[in-house]
Each structure stands twice: as structure tokens, then as C-alpha cells.
């Protein structure tokens, strides 16, 4: 866990990609879940942030 935070602080690719992946997965889950309309409403913005983040952080050094 501390390695993960260290990686984030040093702008390393691995942990940031992991974070973006989690955001995208969360967005997709919110988009298709049957529980609350409000989650559905905010799903797009979460996926969008995750996707843009993924594109940016995939250029960070390993």
C-alpha cells in the first residue's frame, strides 16, 4: 500500500493506471447498475475522468 502511494506521488505509470482502471470500472458499474438513478446520472462523468486520466498517465515513466 505504501508503495502504491509512493508510486502515485512520484507520478509512476503503474499505480496511476490502476487508479484510472478502477475509475473506469466504477463508471461502467454505475452506468449499468439497477439500484439508484443518481448513480446512473453521474456515471458518465466518472468514466470520462477515468478515460482521460488513463490516456494521460499511460505516458508517465514506468
Amino acid at each position: 500500500m505504501t508503495n502504491f502511494i509512493k508510486g502515485l506521488l512520484r507520478l509512476r505509470r503503474g499505480p496511476w493506471e490502476m487508479l484510472a482502471t478502477i475509475l473506469i470500472a466504477l463508471g461502467v458499474f454505475m452506468l449499468m447498475q439497477p439500484f439508484a438513478l443518481v448513480l446512473f446520472t453521474y456515471s458518465f462523468i466518472v468514466t470520462l475522468i477515468g478515460t482521460v486520466m488513463f490516456i494521460i498517465v499511460s505516458h508517465f515513466p514506468e
Partner: protein, 315 residues
């Protein structure tokens, strides 16, 4: 003048270099070779994408070209993301997605595991099993509506043969309770071979020396499966799941031919919903915003997919 210089340089340099100068530079060739591809993809994908984003901010309707086109900001997005019907069609997609993936992974992995026992003729049977996934989903989906006919359909006959139920008593694509399963069954029939092929590659990538070592340590077969087979095949399984997930998220041809989204809107997956908005109601601006939402979702999933792809590539 530069020409002369080049000639003199060519004469003075060893033959290998001279050829490089006489021909185009590698850099130029690289660009000449890549440019047509990039250009075509820009014209057919990126330019339309930008156009879609622009349309998504307006109230444009293709069937009323004379109406004034107004800029409405993110109004279309707000409408879609608070619309309960759209939400319902995404839930229908989720049901389809989850069950097809679960079934395909279970059956596909089992098949791959069995084929990997290398019984006689396994190559031939693998090829035969793969056939359904190569065929046109629309044409096959259309024919499945015949197999699903009550009374005369082969599928209903098969079920009645197994369970004793009257083959005329149920209609897979006509009943609200059964239609979501009808599309899951056909998709599973069609795409299980895909998961099977990838799992088979995963199982075959495990060196037998690992099993031999485990055998020497007297690990049980059951333990070997959970500690060697499954973890080592997992990256491949992930690849298959992600790919099927993306494909089924945008599923159109098979389901539109099978049920057309019906009965009611029980099998109206997002792509079918989008098609109705865009090409039946002609709410182009609204549909464009809908399309952008799907684009971004698929793009996000695709980036995860490529990451998984690279992981498998190193093996």
C-alpha cells in the same frame, strides 16, 4: 547544387550508405506507408467523432433540416442521464452482459480444459466447435427465430424432449420472462468457442515442467488446478472477458434480428435503443449525445483491454 552534393557524397560513401541516399530515407518511407491508414481513419472515424460531439450539443433533427439548429449545451446529456427508459435499456444490457460472460467463461474454460487432455481428433473437433462464431450474426440470429418458434421450432422440441413440457406452451422470444434468456442462449451458443480458444491458448502456455514439479511434491490434482492452472490461465481469461464485454456492450446485429428489442422493451439493449433514437425518431442531437456516452465507455474499456493484451503478449 544540393543534387550535386548528394552525388558526390554518394560516390565517396561505401555502397551500403549510398543506397540509403539514393532511395528514400527510412523516415520518409515510414510516413508514406503509414499516412494512408491514418488519413482514412481520420476521415472515417475522427472527423465523424468530432462532428458527433458538435451535434450532441445541439437540438438538430435529421428529418427536419429546415428547423433552426440551436445550441443547447449539455442539455442532451442531462436528459439522457436522467431518463429512466435509457437506464432500463442499460440494465437490460447489463443482464445480457453478465450472463453471457458467466456462461461463456464456465463452458468455454471447461471445454478448453477437456480439449487440453489431447484426446484423439481434438484438432478436428476444435475446428468444428469454432464454426458458429465465424458466421454472420444477423443471418444466424434470424434463423434462430425459426428454432425458437413454439410447437414447430427445433429448440422448443429439444426442451420438451428433455423436460416433457409441451413445446407449444412457451415462446422464447415472445414472452417477457423468457426473451432476455433467449438472447443469452444464442449469444452463448455463438461465442463460447471464442472464450474456449483463448483459454486453450492460456492452458497450452503453461509449461508441463511446473506440473511435473507439483507432482513430485505430491500436490493433489485439485490443488494443482487452483494453484497452477487457474492463476496461469487468468490473464488469458481476463482478455476473453474484456473482449466479450466490449462486444456485448455494443451488441446489435444478433439481438435486433432475434427479438428486435421486444417484447415491449425487455431486450432493448443500448445499441438498439440508440438506433431507435437516431434512425426512427430522428432525434439526431439527442442520439449523438447518447453515442458520445457509449463512445467514452467503450474507449475506457478498450484502454483496459489493450493493457490486458500487452500483459498476455509478453508470455
Amino acid at each position: 547544387m544540393p543534387d550535386k552534393l548528394a552525388k558526390r557524397a554518394a560516390l565517396a560513401t561505401p555502397p551500403k550508405l549510398a543506397h540509403k541516399i539514393r532511395g528514400l530515407s527510412d523516415r520518409a518511407i515510414a510516413w508514406i506507408f503509414i499516412a494512408p491508414t491514418i488519413f482514412l481513419l481520420l476521415a472515417v472515424n475522427i472527423f465523424p467523432l468530432i462532428w458527433t460531439i458538435r451535434l450532441s450539443l445541439t437540438n438538430f433533427r435529421t428529418n427536419r433540416p429546415n428547423n433552426a439548429v440551436e445550441f443547447v449545451g449539455i442539455e442532451n446529456y442531462r436528459k439522457i442521464l436522467t431518463d429512466a427508459d435509457t437506464w432500463t435499456s442499460l440494465q437490460a444490457t447489463a443482464h445480457f452482459l453478465i450472463w453471457t460472460i458467466v456462461l461463456q467463461v464456465l463452458i468455454g474454460f471447461t471445454l478448453a480444459y477437456l480439449i487440453n487432455k489431447k484426446f484423439r481428433g481434438n484438432d478436428l473437433w476444435t475446428t468444428l466447435i469454432v464454426l458458429p462464431m465465424m458466421l454472420s450474426p444477423a443471418v444466424v440470429g434470424n434463423f434462430w427465430t425459426f428454432l425458437y418458434q413454439p410447437q414447430i421450432g427445433l429448440f422448443n422440441y429439444f426442451i420438451s424432449f428433455l423436460t416433457g413440457a409441451d413445446p407449444a406452451s412457451f415462446s422464447m422470444i415472445g414472452e417477457v420472462a423468457l426473451a432476455p434468456w433467449a438472447i443469452v442462449i444464442v449469444d452463448t451458443w455463438m461465442w463460447t468457442p471464442f472464450v474456449m480458444l483463448i483459454c486453450l491458448a492460456g492452458l497450452r502456455s503453461i509449461p508441463s515442467s511446473i506440473y511435473e514439479a507439483a507432482e513430485c511434491d505430491r500436490a493433489s490434482k485439485w490443488r494443482q488446478f487452483w494453484t497452477i492452472t487457474l492463476p496461469m490461465a487468468l490473464p488469458f481469461l481476463m482478455l476473453a472477458v474484456l473482449f466479450r464485454g466490449i462486444e456485448n456492450f455494443k451488441m446489435f446485429d444478433l439481438v435486433v434480428q432475434l427479438t428486435g428489442g421486444g417484447p415491449g422493451s425487455t431486450t432493448q439493449l443500448t445499441s438498439i435503443d440508440l438506433k431507435r433514437e437516431a434512425f426512427e425518431k430522428w432525434r439526431t442531437g439527442y442520439a449523438s449525445a447518447y453515442a458520445v456516452i457509449l463512445f467514452v465507455t467503450v474507449f475506457g474499456l478498450a484502454s483496459i483491454y489493450v493493457k490486458a493484451l500487452n500483459k498476455v503478449k509478453d508470455r
